[in-house]
């Protein structure tokens, strides 16, 4: 916390507790994404199951953050930056929970992929997409914990990069499917995985907006940077 302490010190402890719960949750989510990626790349069903089984743990943390935040609002009646901190914690945790759901979805796709007989060599696109999404989450959590507006803005602007990478992967998948219908099965799974990663990037961007609001009290001035739309990828 960059701000000075409250006269009532236990209030600071409450806010710190929320911060550290978000940190824990964030680390778990990043771990889940890492394992989901490994499960896809190395065709590891056991690891995929591990990711799926761990998801309720993250839901549990979200629930405990909700309860704690509501309790803090009731007992401390926070205002101004304190109120923004509590509300942001609530919202960040719900975004993290959604990201964890995507990690679970990806793990489920890994299981489906393990049953597909014919898989084209898609190169490093999925790992690259995933790295970028993970970096965005790591950076935005860092920005959240350290109240770093510049870093939040950076993440917010980086989503375009992820969107573009996703679009080009989509085109690649379409090409594979047109080349050989045997690819369709696997490519459909990859398509879902890529879409999940793209959504993860959106949630990281939302968290970046929350961090900016938390620090400044208002939204980013300019509209969210946008790449080309998905509708541009069509089969001709």
């Amino acid at each position: 916390m960059t701000e000075s302490s409250h006269i009532v010190k236990s209030f600071d402890l409450d806010l710190e507790h929320l911060n550290s719960e978000i940190t824990n949750m964030g680390e778990l989510v990043i771990q889940q994404l890492e394992n989901a990626l490994k499960a896809v790349v190395s065709n590891d069903s056991a690891l995929a199951h591990q990711v799926i089984d761990k998801d309720p743990e993250i839901d549990e943390i979200e629930h405990s953050i909700d309860t704690f935040a509501i309790r803090t609002i009731a007992l401390r009646q926070p205002v101004a930056s304190d109120l923004r901190a509590v509300i942001s914690a609530l919202k960040v945790s719900s975004h993290l929970e959604r990201i964890a759901d995507y990690a679970t979805n990806i793990a489920k796709r890994a299981l489906s992929l393990s049953e597909v007989k014919y898989t084209p060599s898609i190169g490093s696109a999925v790992p690259r997409l995933m790295r970028l999404a993970q970096d965005m989450i790591k950076d935005v959590l860092h920005a959240y914990i350290n109240r770093d507006d510049t870093k939040a803005k950076e993440v917010w602007e980086r989503d375009v990069e992820l969107d573009e990478m996703y679009m080009s992967f989509l085109r690649e998948l379409l090409t594979y499917m047109m080349e050989d219908p045997r690819n369709i099965n696997a490519c459909t799974q990859f398509l879902f995985i890529a879409k999940n990663i793209e959504r993860i990037g959106d949630h990281a961007t939302n968290i970046a907006e929350l961090v900016h609001y938390l620090i400044s009290g208002h939204a980013f001035d300019e509209p969210r940077p946008k790449g080309e739309g998905e509708q541009k990828v069509i089969v001709t």
Partner: protein
């Protein structure tokens, strides 16, 4: 709802003998809105409040510079009659202070000294209307001849509000009107403030920040005799612009 300016304070400075208590205060109060004054003890908010109905006039060694305009007329102008000013600007204090008279006479006091009625029936009407508006009528209508001092603290405070509005003021000043009341009595007074806003412009000094947030449309934060920040209440409590306001309302400095 567009609101008109009711009170304008311009470059107000106040000195108690050698000690300056208010520094260059500039603020505007909108008609039929509630302005809450917040700030640590001794910050000047009560001194400021008392400038608005010239309650400070009788204080020994006091000097006031600057302008207090009500409906664009300076109330410190020589032509202003202080007695009639105070019928226009009523006041409610921290501790309920009913006169040692009956409930009826407490409310009738102002209309009597200002000759605001012709017949007994008219006075009865003013008393009933004021008590109703103060949300007290149902509780006291059967014992109007009982002493006002026999009521509960919350009822006494509402009696004082009834007394203040009996002379049909335009502005009501409240100096911590709920600090001696329990939460239920406080809620009743807060509800009353919200209703009174239909007719009156209200300025309230409060140490209870949540109360300021609940009852006011505008909030002004005073610190060390200066007006640090004034603005829309929702904005002050979610996104104050000045670090001192932020520190005070979040409980970060004493």
């Amino acid at each position: 709802m567009t609101s008109q300016s009711k009170i304008q304070i311009k470059d107000l400075n106040l000195f108690y003998a050698d000690k300056q208590a208010l520094f260059d205060i500039n603020v505007e109060v909108m008609e039929k809105q509630v302005l809450a004054l917040i700030g640590p003890s001794g910050c000047g908010k009560s001194s400021f409040l008392r400038c608005i109905n010239r309650m400070n006039d009788s204080v020994e060694g006091i000097r006031i510079h600057g302008k207090v305009l009500i409906d664009k007329k300076d109330i410190y102008d020589k032509s202003i009659d202080v007695v009639s000013l105070r019928t226009r600007v009523g006041m409610v204090f921290q501790k309920p202070n009913p006169f040692p008279k009956s409930i009826y006479d407490n409310v009738a006091y102002g209309p009597r000294i200002h000759h605001l009625f012709e017949t007994k029936a008219e006075l009865d009407y003013v008393v009933e209307k004021s008590l109703r508006r103060a949300g007290l009528w149902e509780e006291v209508k059967d014992r109007l001849e009982h002493p006002g001092t026999g009521l509960s603290g919350g009822q006494q405070q509402r009696l004082c509000i009834a007394r203040a509005i009996a002379v049909n003021p335009e502005i009501i000043l409240m100096d911590e009107p709920c600090s001696a009341l329990d939460p239920i009595a406080t809620a009743k007074v807060e509800e009353l403030i919200d209703e009174l806003r239909e007719k009156y412009t209200i300025i309230i000094v409060t140490h209870n920040l949540q109360q300021a947030a609940r009852v006011s449309q505008q909030t002004a934060f005073f610190h060390l005799g200066r007006l640090v920040e004034a603005g829309e209440t929702g904005e002050i409590f979610t996104n104050p612009q000045d670090g001192r306001t932020q520190g005070y309302i979040t409980g970060r400095f004493g």
